[in-house]
């Protein structure tokens, strides 16, 4: 083994240390939400004691003490800033995180393993915001998210439409002829179906696009590529073999941002969910109210709430501060069995 390959290993370890440090700082920022004040000397003492007993053969206790004192001092500095957090599903580098950054780059984005964790975390105050994908031009509606929207008490405070540009990523230096399998989220695999077929690549579903990138960079399996964002390529030090591999260039995902508090000043768009009685023409009656008031609908979707009982998702242009809209909503309430106002917000489109 030459010096070069040893240094490659050191680089890989350094990159892991940095990612772990980042993850530790993230937990510190979340922990702040549960603490009355930043400084907690008992907890710090406890950590230092444990570190001392855990120290390995090579590294001295004194070095570890010094290192962890520095780490904890940095954590305190971050905690003092009292950052607002936006939670997203997936690993760092996920498309949801890119959308979160595009929506508000001041927020700290924290990964969650499931959509339910995003919803629950915002509901119990661990995160200020959550960002979730609602639908995609190629893949259709994201069922789990829409199902959560039906039952949540959270408000939609923003929306963003982000273009999805899939890249084929490999470990640096991989020969394209050796690529046999491609790991990614099933949505991403289906959005690049023609590309995979054309190049005779076997799709392998994985829980997350960025998660697949992370797995590739850590486990370094042979003959494997992943589909993820450009952002993930940088984050996990992977090479972009080909960008824009999606079958349709019109590939966009619409995300909504959730919060416990609604926006006081309102916005340009509203989202509601309702159910109607099981009678002829009930849905038509509701839609007719919007048509007569000349309100433009931007989304209409139905999902089963229970068997044979559908919830209708409706987005329309207008502000809930507007009297016309308030009147319409009152009228809609009379014609529905269950009406939920998800929020009034502004929507942005990223080119």
């Amino acid at each position: 083994m030459g010096l070069k390959s040893i240094r490659d290993k050191i680089d890989a370890i350094d990159s892991k240390i940095l990612k772990l440090l980042n993850a530790r700082m993230e937990q510190a920022i979340i922990a702040r939400k549960y603490k009355d004040q930043v400084m907690d000397s008992n907890r710090e003492k406890e950590i230092l004691e444990r570190i001392e007993s855990d120290t390995g053969e090579l590294i001295s206790p004194a070095f570890c003490q010094k290192l962890f004192k520095d780490i904890m001092s940095e954590s305190r500095k971050l905690q003092e800033k009292n950052y607002d957090i936006i939670a997203f599903q997936g690993e760092h580098g996920a498309y949801s995180e890119m959308a979160a950054k595009a929506w508000n780059k001041e927020l700290i984005s924290i990964p969650c393993s499931s959509f339910a964790d995003v919803f629950n975390g915002v509901e119990n105050g661990r995160f200020e915001y959550g960002i979730v994908p609602v639908d995609n031009t190629l893949g259709g509606i994201v069922g789990e998210v829409n199902n959560n929207l039906m039952h949540t008490h959270l408000h939609i405070v923003g929306a963003i439409e982000n273009p999805v540009e899939h890249c084929l990523l490999t470990l640096p230096g991989t020969n394209h002829r050796d690529i046999k399998k491609v790991y990614s989220h099933s949505q991403a695999l289906s959005q690049c179906k023609n590309f995979l077929e054309r190049n005779d690549l076997e799709p392998v579903p994985y829980y997350d696009t960025a998660g697949a990138a992370k797995m590739l960079s850590e486990e370094r399996p042979e003959g494997v590529a992943v589909i993820a964002s450009k952002f993930a390529a940088v984050l996990y030090n992977l090479e972009i073999i080909k960008s824009n591999i999606e079958d349709s260039r019109a590939n966009k995902t619409r995300f909504v941002v959730l919060s416990k508090n609604k926006i006081e000043k309102g916005g340009e768009k509203c989202s509601i969910i309702f159910t109607t009685e099981h009678k002829a023409g009930t849905l038509f009656k509701v839609l007719e109210i919007f048509a007569k008031a000349n309100i433009n609908l931007t989304r209409i979707e139905s999902m089963p709430k229970q068997l044979l009982n559908y919830a209708f998702f409706l987005d329309f242009l207008g502000s809930d501060k507007d009297e016309k809209i308030q009147k319409v909503l009152k009228e809609v309430e009379e014609h529905t069995t269950d009406l939920k106002f998800l929020g009034c917000y502004n929507e942005r489109k990223v080119a």
């Binding site: 020969n175 002829r177 590309f195 054309r198 190049n199 972009i240």
Partner: protein, 270 residues
């Protein structure tokens, strides 16, 4: 022509016109120019901008190179394709690049607008079948020891796999002459037109191997009825990693193009 050439023969169809972006090969006179090999991003993009300004319609550049010696520069591979893609984004010029291995056909198709089969691979039948399965136009060069019929049979292979878009390219053959790298056989231009409905280009760079002869032979090719030219241009030929003696620099190419475009205009009136 024999039954073996049933798909490319003139009797089968009037004239094949191949559309690439807003170009119509077989109808418009086209010039494909660029470096022999993609060496780096700067060299390729600078050359691409220069040939575009001089009036070229497409960019050529080898990423996978078939070299006589295994120790010579073999090309940048996929990295070279990514550079060509960038050059296309910068200039809008469609990309022509060579395929030397059937395993690469699908990959190169992801980046290229035209797949080139080089003279050395003209009779690589598995490669011909593979490009015949794609929907990309194929530039089929004449092998250096091939007769017209052998060459046309190779075009027939591509068409028989379902790809109708073949562009033939005369690039010179081996003769006893040593002054030139190859002997450019311009009689093939009207001969191809007599026998087939396919467009035909001429490559005077490989056809002569000498910069001083490229201009006159290009004008002769236009006069012979060629549908276009494919010419090697390098932003700095002195440091080129391959084919130094036959690559124009941008200024030489500009002066060359003025004559070429003038004659091609006159040809339209004939």
């Amino acid at each position: 022509m024999s039954k073996d050439l049933r798909l490319i023969s003139k009797e089968k169809e009037k004239k094949t016109i191949i559309k690439i972006a807003d170009l119509k090969i077989g109808e418009d006179f086209i010039v494909i120019a660029g470096p022999c090999a993609v060496e780096n991003e700067r060299q390729t993009i600078e050359t691409a901008i220069a040939v575009k300004e001089a009036g070229a319609n497409m960019l050529r550049g080898g990423a996978f190179k078939p070299r006589t010696s295994p120790y010579a520069f073999q090309g940048l591979g996929l990295k070279g394709l990514k550079i060509l893609e960038k050059a296309k984004q910068e200039t809008g010029l469609p990309i022509v690049t060579e395929v030397i291995d059937s395993r690469d056909v699908s990959w190169i198709s992801e980046y290229a607008d035209v797949l080139q089969i080089g003279a050395r691979n003209m009779q690589n039948f598995s490669l011909l079948k593979e490009v015949g399965k794609t929907d990309k136009p194929v530039l089929l060069k004449r092998g250096m020891y091939s007769t017209l019929k052998e060459w046309l049979s190779c075009a027939e292979y591509i068409l028989s796999e379902g790809n109708p878009n073949v562009i033939l390219c005369e690039r010179g053959i081996r003769t006893f002459e040593t002054y030139t790298r190859n002997t450019l056989d311009l009689s093939m231009v009207p001969a191809v037109k007599e026998c087939t409905h396919l467009p035909v280009l001429v490559d005077p760079s490989h056809g002569t191997g000498k910069k001083s002869l490229i201009g006159p032979m290009s004008l002769a090719a236009i006069a012979a009825g060629s549908d276009g030219l494919i010419v090697e241009v390098h932003n700095n030929p002195e440091v080129a990693l391959s084919d130094k003696e036959q690559q124009f620099n941008p200024a030489e190419f500009k002066a060359y193009m003025e004559k070429v475009l003038k004659l091609s205009e006159i040809m339209k009136q004939l």
